[in-house]
């Protein structure tokens, strides 16, 4: 009896090997190991030529956070821009999702399709499309000049506002989709019940609909806030490399200047911010909302 129990146990273990085995090894080798390596390197000193010196040092962190104002500013700027982006995406994305879910009717599929296509297409292409339309020289400027509406070209590129606009442009679809999913998941009986119990449309929205879409809002926030926080292409292409965010510092130290230790410290700081945020979201929104977004 005991022997057969042990045999089934071993057999169950044998099933694990081919199923979750490969991904475990993969994650260990190509996710955890690289992260561990940069955490270790981030505490090492930078040599005179930019290389790594194998001795413990907190110098990188000091320089990044408290040293030159530009580095610390880039981190703060990232958090601020990501926050503003997230809030505006929520304020526009929620009504969009709400409209599609409530009044979409037979156009629902088409409207959703029009949200999914941009979210699946190449990210640089979308940045470029925006840049070409609103930039200078740009199609909109040219058009307005020809019509005589404006007398000199307006250049909004290379400003903080343009970077935030770009971030909203890129990440807005990722806010609409999870909110839409959670709106669709609401049991209509609950909405009817609330009306029967004397709620007006306004209080119904505030006390029934909104709390029930909490998961979608958290999902959308994770999908917009975190990528916006780590974005480096929007500031590079739309901010014209003048408005730096944390991601630009990583790229700059790593690829342009080859200062690996500095880049690693920056990455650790940004990761810490992200992990803290995810932890907060999980505490507030529950693990389920986290998994549902994927």
């Amino acid at each position: 009896m005991a022997a057969s129990k042990r045999a089934t146990k071993i057999k169950a273990k044998l099933h694990l090997l081919p199923t979750v085995g490969p991904i475990s090894i993969w994650i260990l080798l190509f996710v955890f190991a690289p992260v561990a390596v940069i955490v270790v390197i981030s505490f090492m000193a930078t040599g005179p030529a930019g290389g790594i010196l194998p001795k413990f040092s907190l110098e990188n962190y000091r320089v990044l956070l408290f040293g030159g104002s530009e580095y610390g500013n880039a981190v703060l700027r990232s958090i601020l821009y990501a926050f503003v982006t997230n809030m505006i995406c929520l304020c526009v994305g929620f009504p969009m999702a709400y409209w599609i879910s409530k009044y979409g009717g037979r156009f629902k599929a088409l409207l959703l399709f029009l949200i999914i296509v941009p979210s699946w297409s190449c990210y640089i292409v979308r940045i470029y499309a925006l840049k070409q339309l609103v930039g200078f020289p740009g199609i909109l400027n040219n058009f307005l000049l020809n019509l005589g509406i404006i007398s000199s070209p307006i250049n909004i590129l290379y400003t903080p506002g343009a970077v935030v606009l770009g971030l909203i442009y890129i990440w807005l679809p990722f806010m609409v989709l999870p909110i839409y999913a959670s709106l669709e998941g609401i049991n209509p009986a609950l909405l009817e019940a609330s009306l029967d119990l004397g709620a007006n449309p306004r209080s119904q929205f505030l006390t029934v609909t909104l709390p029930l879409t909490k998961g979608g809002i958290f999902g959308g926030t994770i999908l917009t806030f975190i990528p916006a926080l780590g974005d480096w292409l929007v500031p590079l292409l739309i901010g014209g490399n003048r408005v730096w965010m944390a991601g630009n510092l990583i790229e700059h130290f790593l690829v342009v200047r080859g200062r690996i230790a500095m880049a690693s410290s920056m990455a650790v700081i940004l990761t810490a911010a992200v992990v803290l945020l995810i932890y907060m979201f999980i505490k507030l929104g529950g693990e389920e909302s986290m998994e549902r977004i994927v």
């Binding site: 979750v20 941009p118 190449c122 499309a129 070409q132």
Partner: protein, 264 residues
């Protein structure tokens, strides 16, 4: 009255949102048929830029590289991810929760961080050559998790008594997998592949960090054209292809779903 106002504001926001998302793309699409090579002024209608695309060997090579990388990534990531999703759903084991959370890690942390970490790891520690091997390994790390969660979603809706019946009727593990489990998982395998292929094809950040010199994929090529402002109209034409591609994939999913519906 108040409700009407709320609805009006809602409608305005919806239209504004769609205009904002699609306006730049539509304009880009129209201007890709513009005869003026330098872009912002409309001249006359032409499709010669699309012909040019096919005659620019650098672009065609970049397309082939991207297709090759995306195909290998799709196959490997779908297999690894589907197996993992199956195991995570079916078995209770030590570290299951931890593994589930770890799988989320590469897709929730900003790409620039993971991509940077992989670059350091590949060049300093693992000595994996930059280029194809590095790009494909990195792409699998980011896209296998997608397959894991697609599979987990599907697993919840499967009637598992079929698998048990197959075992009861005397089929061994491999036969059960071949005849029962894989057919049951086919929709999620298909969905994973259709999700991963465009992800890999479109990816810029991860590829940019680990590509090294010479392995220019299409998004990397596009980026270098943008940086040096070469032939804007040619860029428009490539861009339109990137926009049309997801439409094709979504259409594939739609067709597949319709097919499943008709069968069932």
């Amino acid at each position: 009255m108040k409700v009407l106002n709320a609805r009006k504001i809602n409608t305005v926001l919806l239209i504004a949102g769609y205009l904002f998302i699609w306006g730049p793309i539509v304009v880009l699409g129209i201007f890709s048929f513009n005869a003026n090579a330098y872009g912002v002024k409309w001249e006359s209608l032409t499709y010669k830029w699309y012909v040019d695309l096919f005659h620019t060997s650098a672009i065609m090579k970049a397309v082939l590289r991207s297709l090759l990388i995306a195909s290998i990534t799709t196959v490997c990531a779908t297999v690894i991810g589907t197996l993992a999703g199956y195991g995570l759903y079916k078995y209770r084991f030590f570290g299951r929760r931890a593994l589930r959370m770890s799988v989320l890690l590469p897709i929730t942390v900003p790409y620039v961080i993971m991509a940077g970490a992989l670059l350091v790891y590949f060049t300093r520690i693992a000595h994996i050559p930059l280029g194809y091997p590095a790009i494909i390994i990195a792409h699998i790390s980011f896209s296998a998790p997608l397959a894991v969660f697609v599979t987990l979603g599907r697993m919840q809706r499967i009637n598992w008594s079929l698998e048990e019946a197959s075992v009861d009727l005397g089929a061994n593990t491999i036969t059960t997998w071949r005849k029962v489990t894989i057919p049951l998982l086919l929709p999620s395998i298909f969905a994973s592949a259709v999700l991963i292929f465009p992800w890999s094809f479109n990816d810029f950040t991860v590829t940019y960090f680990v590509a090294g010199v010479g392995t220019t994929t299409l998004p990397l090529y596009l980026f270098s054209m943008l940086e040096y402002s070469l032939k804007p109209v040619l860029i428009n034409a490539i861009s339109l292809i990137f926009i049309v591609m997801p439409i094709f994939f979504i259409f594939l999913i739609y067709l597949y779903k319709e097919g499943v519906k008709q069968k069932g």
